[in-house]
Structures are given as C-alpha cells and as structure tokens.
C-alpha cells in the first residue's frame, strides 16, 4: 500500500507492507537514532513525535501515519544537540543506547512544560528506561539545562 508521510519535514511516498511499523519505516528512511530495545512497548527507545506528540513508533503501524507528520531526533538537530550536550556533560549517557529516546521525550516535556518540577520530570520520563545510570546523571543534566534556559541560554557553571 502507498503511504505519504511527512518525515522530518520531508514528504516521503512509499509502498509499504500493511503490517510495517512506523519504527521500521523511519529506520528504512535513514533515521537510525530510533531503536527498538524491548519489543514490549516499555523502553521508550523508539520514541518519535507523531503530529508533535511523543509516541512509541514500535507500536504504531506506518499505515496509520499516512498523511501525518513524524519527527525523529534527526529532525530536531539543533534542539537535540543543545539539550544533549548537558546530558553528555554529566556523563549521563554512558552506553548511549537509551539517549535518543530520552532526549526526544525530554524535548517533549520541555515543550509541554518548560519549568517542570523533579516529580514532573520523573513522571514524564518514566517510560524511558536506562540500564546504565540510575537516572541521576540525566536528572542533573536536565537541571543544568533548565538553569541554562533560565539564564536566557547563556553558559552556566
């Protein structure tokens, strides 16, 4: 079946199998930041934005995305790089496998709620599993990023 999906700002028309997941679709179109970690819709690694909202691409049919807008980390370069630096500064990414999903969902959080409390951060990111860090590094990185934003994007110590 033919679908037309706006992927990272670019219209992609493709002939796909009806049971192809959105995860597979974006990977086939070069978005390798999106990974599948659990196969049980639990880990958050495959997070993409679907019409601006974070979703698990492993659980959505690409067919359902026909006519919709999908964004991956590759499409959020500047935003992702800016935030990702703060995660890296804390050494929070360690193996780095969970990082793209974590960054995507953190960006979604900041778009919804620019100044979240710790409880709101933990709740929002609960669906992103990291098996290296225990999440403390990510939390420190998020705090540092929020402080940086509060200062108007100026460098902070």
């Amino acid at each position: 079946m033919i679908v037309s999906i706006q992927l990272n700002g670019k219209k992609i028309v493709d002939d796909i199998s009806p049971d192809m997941t959105l995860f597979k679709f974006v990977r086939e179109h070069g978005c390798y930041s999106v990974k599948c970690g659990c196969e049980t819709t639990n880990c958050g690694l495959c997070t993409v934005f679907f019409d601006g909202k974070p979703i698990l691409s492993c659980a959505m049919l690409a067919a359902r995305a026909d006519g919709h807008r999908v964004e991956t980390l590759e499409g959020l370069q500047k935003e992702a790089e800016e935030f990702g630096q703060f995660i890296a500064d804390q050494g929070a990414e360690q193996c780095g496998f969970c990082n793209p999903g974590m960054i995507m969902n953190a960006i979604a959080l900041f778009r919804e709620n620019p100044e979240p409390t710790d409880d709101e951060i933990k709740r929002y990111l609960a669906g992103n599993l990291c098996r290296c860090s225990g999440y403390e590094g990510q939390l420190r990185g998020i705090h540092a990023f929020m402080e940086y934003k509060k200062q108007g994007g100026a460098a902070c110590e």
Partner: protein
C-alpha cells in the same frame, strides 16, 4: 509475530462493523497489546479517521470517543475535577507518556484486561458504553459480557457528585499493578472495584467506607497468583488498599 494482510482505514462505523463480523478481521485501537501477539489478521480496521478521538462535555456527562487516548483522559481538567482526580490517578502510572499517547480508552475496555487500571477506575464512576449495535449499557454489565463483534463507539461518564479514590500497588513503576482498587461514595452508597486480582476488575458494594467494611469486603475478593504476586499477597494488599481508599473517601469533601 503480528501479521496483517490488509489495512483498512474505516470511512464509516457501518463499514467497520461489517468488516468486523469476519473472525479474521480485527479493529485496531492503540495496538500496544495487539502488537505483542502472534495474531494473523486479514484486515486491520482502523477507526482513527472517524473523529472518535475527542472528549465532549455536555451538561450532565463527558462523552469520550473510543479513540481517546489515556493521556487525553489524564490531562482533561473538567473530567478530573468531577471525580477528584480518580481518572488521572488510574492512568498516570501506565508505562510512560509515549505509551499513553497511543493507548485508547476503547481498546482498554474492549480487551477487558485483568491488569487494567482503566477498567478498575471507570467501574466506580457512573460509566456507560455506547455500542454501535448493542445500544448504551452500564460499563459493569459490559465488563462481564463475552467479547463479541460489536464496536464500542463511546464511553459516557456521567457527572455524578461523589467522593472518589484510587489506590494501586506496583512492584516497580510503570509495571502492571499487582492490585488496583477504586472506590466511590455517591448518595451514601459505597462502591469498590478491585482489579488485577489478577483477573479482570470486579465491582463490590459496601454500606459505609469504614475500616470494618474494607476488611469484610477484602475477605470477599477472589485473588489468584501469577508472576507478579501470590494470591495470599494480593489478598493482603486488598485489605490494605481498600482501607486506604475508604480512608481517602472519608477524608474527602464531596466533589
């Protein structure tokens, strides 16, 4: 591995209903549970183009299309104000935001899943389901019906003033609940739903939200064992969570 031969974006409920009469065809909701199955589906019927993804507020009810997501329910201020946040509490620990942006109220109820926080929470509210052919029936009745080929079109939550509480225990955050309890008191009548027993949620009635009533009710709750907990542990939890839920109800002002 899930296999789908054909994808059909339904253009009407009638078309979806007709397609759904064939055993090998299946309506897809959020697909979070279905994608983990080994089902061989001839035609996957998608209702996402029928405008059933909105929560409409009327004078006496909230009407949820079957494709409304758990995240929409979690964030809906009016609906949560009406029930003291019961709806939000019942869904906010279900995996993560990305999951709840996909999981639908219709899919959650049609599945009558044993682990369902959604079914547990909605059972103590004045909730009805509107079926395409079967008319509008109370959720408690629907929950006990066998699965058939009708379509759950809307979920109707009446604005009923009362006191509401939700309690659940999980072995780890974002996991299925080991036990889930919802309770309500409306016009002096107390209802409690106990879910994840691990069988599907069941509704119980009590005379008053007292500690004694919680104990008596807990003794009547049938529990079972699975990989998350033993029946004995669940029975103990039933007592604890029912007591907490009833204490919450006693403390709360009428919504």
């Amino acid at each position: 591995m899930l296999k789908i031969k054909e994808y059909v974006k339904a253009e009407s409920l009638e078309q979806a209903y007709e397609l759904n009469q064939k055993r090998t065809n299946r309506i897809i909701g959020g697909m979070l549970w279905m994608r983990m199955s080994d089902a061989q589906i001839q035609k996957a019927i998608d209702l996402s183009g029928l405008g059933l993804d909105q929560i409409e507020e009327t004078e006496d009810a909230f009407i949820l299309g079957c494709m409304v997501t758990l995240r929409q329910m979690e964030l809906h201020e009016g609906m949560n104000a009406m029930c003291g946040g019961l709806i939000r509490k019942s869904v906010e620990d279900i995996v993560g935001v990305q999951f709840r942006n996909l999981a639908t109220v219709g899919g959650s109820l049609v599945g009558r899943f044993g682990f369902s926080d959604v079914l547990t929470g909605l059972l103590v509210l004045d909730t009805y389901v509107e079926l395409y052919k079967g008319g509008t029936i109370p959720l408690a009745e629907y929950a006990n019906m066998k699965r058939d080929n009708d379509i759950l079109v809307h979920v109707i939550i009446k604005k009923t003033a009362g006191r509401y509480a939700y309690q659940a225990h999980r072995n780890t955050k974002t996991d299925f609940p080991v036990l889930a309890v919802a309770a309500s008191m409306v016009d002096g009548k107390v209802k409690a739903a106990v879910g994840a027993r691990p069988q599907r949620a069941r509704l119980y009635l009590a005379d008053a939200p007292t500690q004694e009533a919680a104990e008596a009710l807990a003794a009547a709750v049938v529990t079972g064992s699975n990989m998350r907990a033993s029946a004995e542990y669940r029975s103990h939890l039933a007592k604890v969570l029912l007591k907490r839920a009833f204490a919450e109800i006693r403390e709360k002002e009428e919504q």
